[in-house]
């Protein structure tokens, strides 16, 4: 009796299936308890990987809810690569449709934030430009300049106060979140990704620059609420800008 890896995998992910036939048990009985060791290893290790990837969501929903949710997620979306540091990439879409989480509609955006923190942490090291190079451009030149960004940089706008909720759950004494839209910049000045609360205009401006538009175009998109000096200071201070063209 041959056991194929397809049968083995199906049994691992579906606990309602019996253990595959053809497994040998020196104790004589069915090998189901022995097969359960592998079942348990798979479910527990993937659940632990998701807890490590989404610590704020874990804190928000609690251990029991998270483990139950992870059990559904890992069967629907088993990893597609051995790089567990990136496991959970489909969590934002998953949470948007996950019925038991309907009362926490901001969870999907929080998953985007936590994924971006991970990707930022593992992003390529970058050499930032000297701020002086920017200061030396004539206003006319500056308007036509395009910026290259460190790959650790992310802009995440949300209809929910994701920045405040994140910090209320990771820092002692952080203020309680107030229901409002918020946007954040995630950047990595050196090794630790850092979040900064930014205005909607700043979020539009940086997103436009990151899409490859010249500064003048990004300014027009952002509108009159943009504080250009403060925003450029933020991007330089967080080592986000790597090239000027």
């Amino acid at each position: 009796m041959k056991v194929t890896q397809a049968q083995f995998r199906a049994g691992l992910l579906d606990p309602s299936l019996p253990a595959p036939k053809g497994l040998a048990n020196p104790d004589g009985a069915q090998a189901s308890k022995r097969f359960d060791v592998y079942r348990n290893n798979v479910a527990v290790s993937l659940t632990e990987a998701l807890i490590a990837a989404f610590p704020v969501i874990y804190k928000l929903v609690g251990d029991r809810f998270f483990r139950a949710m992870a059990g559904v997620y890992l069967r629907k979306h088993p990893p597609s690569s051995p790089l567990m540091m990136y496991y959970g990439d489909k969590m934002p879409q998953f949470l948007r449709r996950f019925e038991p989480a309907k009362s926490l509609p901001f969870l999907s955006d929080m998953a985007r934030v936590e994924l971006a923190m991970r990707h930022s942490y593992h992003a390529a090291d970058a050499t930032p430009i000297d701020g002086q190079a920017l200061a030396e451009l004539t206003p006319e030149k500056l308007m036509g300049t395009k910026f290259g960004f460190a790959s650790a940089t992310y802009v995440l706008p949300s209809d929910y106060p994701t920045y405040s909720i994140y910090h209320a759950n990771t820092e002692d004494g952080a203020p309680k979140a107030v229901m409002r839209p918020e946007a954040m910049l995630i950047a990595r000045p050196q090794f630790d990704p850092k979040q900064t609360l930014i205005t909607p205009a700043t979020a539009i401006f940086i997103t436009s620059l990151m899409a490859g538009n010249a500064l003048g175009v990004a300014m027009t998109a952002a509108g009159r609420d943009l504080d250009l000096g403060a925003t450029l200071g933020l991007l330089l201070g967080q080592n986000c800008i790597t090239t000027l063209n």
Binding site: M1, K2, V3, T4, Q5, A6, F8, R9, L12, L13, G22, L23, A24, N25, P26, D27, A29, Q30, A31, S32, K33, R34, F35, V37, Y38, N41, V42, S45, L46, A49, P78, P79, S80, S81, P82, L83, M84, M85, Y121, H122, A123, A124, D125, S151, A152, R188, F191, D192
Partner: protein
């Protein structure tokens, strides 16, 4: 087939599986720690702190790169993207050793994050040997293959694990990573003798030895079922099996693995000291 004399360059001393929370203890410490082992997949990001720490550690210690995701025992082809990532890591780091497992973890591009068992047949022997040839060719170096922890066997198996591994060594020129805790776990679970396993093992090919902790569970009949959890200290019967092994092999690079519920450094340092004294006796 690679030349089997292409030697593993880890020193015959005690090493430890590296955990980032111990970075300062390790980089500032001195003494018994002879080398470090890292899981390959944790260093396949593009940059940042993990890569920088590994770069710093590699200036001070010989590094063993231990893969957990290549799925050498898979029915399907090896993932060329993953093999390329391994090559990239081995190229820039130039580790003293590369090792992987006699197991599978990926099927139809789904990675299951566990070391899953395979039957030992003429067919699986050819497949595993082909995969190892491919790995050694791509990496341009000899690899070590680790014996698994088993919870069950396959009715279709035609040979035992030691015969399978002996033939793999003959066909590919790879070395072996002998995990003594895995031997103890498998022998207990499959009701065989761990000493007999060591006696039949192709010890001449061993380039590294692993030691780790396991958990104890029970099967339906109340008989012990050991789980290879890497979350505890090494138990006395496994230390005894190590002595039995070292008496035959002489000193070998010896690793303490502790991957879950990782303790503070002093606890690991005590395990390293015990491993070191076992090497001195050998």
């Amino acid at each position: 087939m690679l030349d089997a004399t292409h030697d593993n360059r880890l020193p015959p001393r005690a090493g430890v599986g590296y955990k980032p929370q111990h970075y300062m203890d390790i980089i500032q410490g001195s003494g018994l720690l002879g080398w470090l082992e890292v899981h390959a997949e944790n260093y396949m990001g593009n940059g940042g702190r993990p890569i920088e720490q590994l770069r710093q550690l590699s200036k001070k210690f010989p590094i063993s790169v231990h893969g957990v995701g290549l799925s050498i025992g898979a029915e399907g082809d090896l993932d060329p993207d993953h093999l390329a990532r391994l090559k990239h890591l081995c190229d820039w780091l130039n580790p003293a050793s590369f090792s992987e497992h006699l197991a599978w973890s990926t099927h139809d591009s789904h990675f299951l994050n566990d070391l899953l068992p395979l039957p030992y047949t003429a067919q699986t022997l050819t497949r595993v040997a082909d995969h190892i040839d491919q790995v050694q060719e791509v990496l341009g170096r000899q690899m070590l293959l680790e014996n698994p922890s088993s919870y069950l066997a396959f009715a279709e198996s035609e040979m035992d694990e030691t015969a399978f591994l002996s033939e793999i060594v003959k066909r590919t020129g790879c070395g072996l990573l002998l995990d003594v805790n895995n031997v103890f776990v498998s022998a207990t679970n499959l009701r065989t003798s761990p000493q007999a396993y060591i006696d039949a093992f192709p010890l001449h090919a061993v380039g590294e030895i692993h030691l780790g902790g396991h958990d104890q569970d029970y099967n339906e009949t109340g008989a012990p079922l050991l789980i290879d959890s890497h979350g505890k200290a090494v138990v006395d019967p496994v230390w005894a099996l190590l002595d039995y092994t070292l008496a035959k092999t002489g000193p070998k690079p010896l690793l303490i693995e502790w991957d879950n519920d990782v303790p503070e450094w002093s606890v690991l340092a005590a395990e390293i000291a015990r491993a070191d004294s076992a090497l001195v006796r050998a």
